[in-house]
């Protein structure tokens, strides 16, 4: 068992013939993921890493029963690709693209919600269950980060994930499932919406949340903990404690305006709900140990 992606999940790769798509298809296959088809309009009949390419998701699903899709398409086409996957009945979608217009992202999230689907991203490294499968772009060959184990990781950041996760691993833990929710201001699925999956996953004993200044996603997790929706131990690191107000540090998610979305507020809410919050990445693993061992 894992969350989101299983060994038998039938994965489709949209944009498979592009340079990113074909490069990562090799690695996605490499970890053991069950890739059943690829889609690139106009390239039907080709093969990438021995995976059949179709013109449309509809046809790929009809012929291969794909039930999950990871998208390697440019940001301006992400919305169309997500709609295409949803329309074909796919309920698990990962959107890697960085730079999706926020009005597009709103439509993507809204469409996913109304279809009862889970779209992860955009601007994410995706999803990985080390040793099992991945829909994303993780360097799972880096052993000091992608070691199998019982700690769930969910994160708003690509770059910081390796940093923090390495600290968790260095304390002797491993990772059950890692969900990159993406760094955009409107992620299609929000932190709190993954909690029920982690809660019921027997492989996950505790959860690490890598948060960031801006927005209200960390506060929503605190609320879910208070409401008893998530009851496992949770340790969080939240970047941007000292970030100057009103400055965007690289992406839209990481901005504080008018006192909303401050790290201080997030820390307070999480600690009140029973989580521990690391003030530096390096102590995350130690806090986790502390919390698990009581």
């Amino acid at each position: 068992m894992s969350i989101f992606i299983e060994q038998d999940t039938r994965v489709l790769i949209q944009g498979i013939t592009g340079s990113e798509g074909s490069f990562w298809t090799e690695h996605i296959l490499g970890i053991g993921t069950n890739v059943v088809a690829g889609v690139t309009p106009g390239k039907e009949g080709q093969k990438v890493e021995n995976v059949n390419v179709y013109n449309t998701v509809r046809k790929a699903v009809a012929e291969t029963q794909a039930d999950a899709s990871v998208l390697f398409v440019p940001p301006r086409f992400a919305k169309d690709a997500v709609f295409e996957a949803l329309d074909a009945g796919i309920k698990k979608i990962v959107v890697i693209a960085e730079g999706i217009p926020v009005h597009d992202a709103m439509q993507m999230r809204r469409a996913a919600l109304s279809e009862g689907a889970m779209v992860v991203g955009g601007n994410t490294s995706g999803v990985i269950t080390p040793g099992v499968a991945m829909m994303g772009i993780f360097p799972y060959w880096i052993e000091r980060v992608y070691k199998q184990g019982n700690i769930g990781i969910m994160t708003r950041s690509g770059s910081l994930t390796n940093e923090v996760t390495a600290m968790v691993i260095s304390e002797g833990f491993g990772v059950s499932s890692l969900m990159g929710i993406g760094g955009d201001s409107v992620p299609c699925t929000r932190f709190a919406e993954f909690l029920p999956l982690y809660e019921k996953d027997p492989e996950t004993k505790a959860l690490v949340m890598i948060g960031e200044l801006g927005g209200t996603m960390e506060e929503e997790v605190a609320e879910a903990m208070e409401a008893g929706i998530f009851t496992k131990p949770l340790v969080s690191f939240i970047g941007g404690r000292t970030a100057p107000e009103g400055k965007k540090m690289g992406h839209a998610g990481a901005i504080v305006t008018g006192g909303k979305g401050t790290v201080a507020g997030k820390v307070k809410a999480l600690e009140k709900a029973g989580a521990l919050v690391a003030d530096r990445p390096s102590v995350t693993g130690k806090l986790l140990k502390e919390l698990i061992n009581g």
Partner: protein
């Protein structure tokens, strides 16, 4: 991209939202005819223009000319000035449209307490804020205009003008891929005209490919470096410390920024070395050096961005630019062993732990060896 007030008002005018009569005076231009009494508004990005003396009032043309000249040629060196008729204000309203990421809606916020800062209002009088949401895929419907305008207490012709203004604001919000459209204050004049006395307009940078009417200009940035980096597509932020950061990814950068502060240092600037920039080490280092930091701190933990490519880029940059300041690196991730090897060859010790790198950079900035 945040637009200037005069640009926001250009959009308002183009969609049929009334703005005060006025003229825009650019750098070398002469004064035209102005409506008196008038408001002299510096077109700068910074907030709190009133308190900073960047907004002035004048009753006579001479006075207006003098005050405008003081702003243009005095210490503020304002490049563009908007001179507008002063309105006879009966009521000031706050009206804005922003994004609700949870409900995926355009969130309309309105208040009869216009002129106040909405964030201040949200803290002190949250009950005074009227909210109306338009979900993705949906349009702003007439009943929603009525909801807002009745809640604001508008009547008669002002009610009708208010409905139209909100409808047109919403059209502009969608059409221009806006993150924020704000009119504060929206003025109702003594003779029942409803006029956008100020305007904020932020266009989503990610939608730039389909929003090309507003190219980046130098005026939007605090420094030449920021402007030039932005033109190259490289995110760059200016701070006032002495450690130049080249990091990959916003998340890691935020953490490093915090760690620098945690260990007693100060950041001079941040340059995004990740994403598509990871192959552009020479340009990246060039921008960073222009800011004259005491030390450069390079931290990455790469996924797509391969550590060995980045390290080779740094090696090339050092060879070409010959920086005279110390450089601390912690370049990890895919290909990190090769990266260490490359850096060792140019005499760098590529660190494995972020905290070690930050501590060393802070110490170097303080003059330690």
């Amino acid at each position: 991209m945040k637009l200037f007030e005069y640009q926001a008002k250009e959009i308002f005018k183009s969609v049929g939202i009334a703005i005060p009569r006025g003229i825009l005076i650019a750098e070398d231009e002469e004064f035209g005819d102005i409506n008196l009494p008038c408001v002299i508004k510096s077109q700068v990005m910074q907030g709190g223009r009133g308190k900073a003396g960047l907004i002035q009032f004048a009753d006579k043309a001479n006075e207006a000319r003098e005050k405008a000249s003081a702003l243009r040629f005095g210490p503020a060196k304002v490049k563009k000035i908007l001179i507008e008729e002063k309105l006879n204000i009966k009521q000031e309203i706050y009206l804005a449209i922003t994004i609700d990421p949870v409900d995926c809606s355009a969130l309309i916020m309105a208040s009869s307490e216009g002129g106040m800062d909405i964030e201040e209002l949200a803290k002190t009088m949250p009950g005074k804020i009227i909210r109306e949401e338009v979900a993705a895929f949906r349009e702003l419907e007439p009943y929603q205009l009525r909801n807002v305008m009745f809640a604001l207490g508008l009547k008669g012709d002002a009610f009708k003008q208010g409905c139209k203004i909100l409808m047109q604001m919403f059209k502009a919000f969608r059409q221009y891929d806006a993150e924020l459209v704000e009119i504060n204050p929206l003025v109702i004049t003594d003779d029942e005209q409803v006029i956008a006395a100020d305007g904020k307009f932020i266009i989503d940078d990610n939608a730039a490919f389909r929003q090309q009417s507003y190219p980046l200009t130098r005026d939007q940035f605090d420094s030449d470096i920021e402007f030039e980096a932005a033109r190259e597509g490289i995110p760059y932020l200016q701070f006032d410390g002495d450690i130049g950061l080249m990091c990959a990814g916003a998340g890691l950068t935020n953490a490093i920024y915090d760690l620098v502060n945690y260990f007693g240092g100060k950041v001079a600037n941040y340059l995004e070395f990740g994403g598509p920039n990871y192959r552009r080490a020479v340009e990246a280092m060039e921008f960073t050096l222009r800011n004259k930091p005491k030390v450069i701190l390079i931290v990455t933990f790469g996924t797509i961005a391969r550590a060995d490519v980045m390290a080779q880029g740094i090696a090339d940059a050092v060879k070409k630019l010959k920086p005279e300041i110390p450089i601390v690196t912690a370049i990890r991730g895919t290909g990190e062993d090769e990266a260490g090897e490359i850096l060792r060859k140019i005499g760098f010790e590529n660190l494995s732990e972020t905290e070690d790198a930050v501590k060393r950079a802070v110490a170097l900035a303080k003059g330690d060896k």
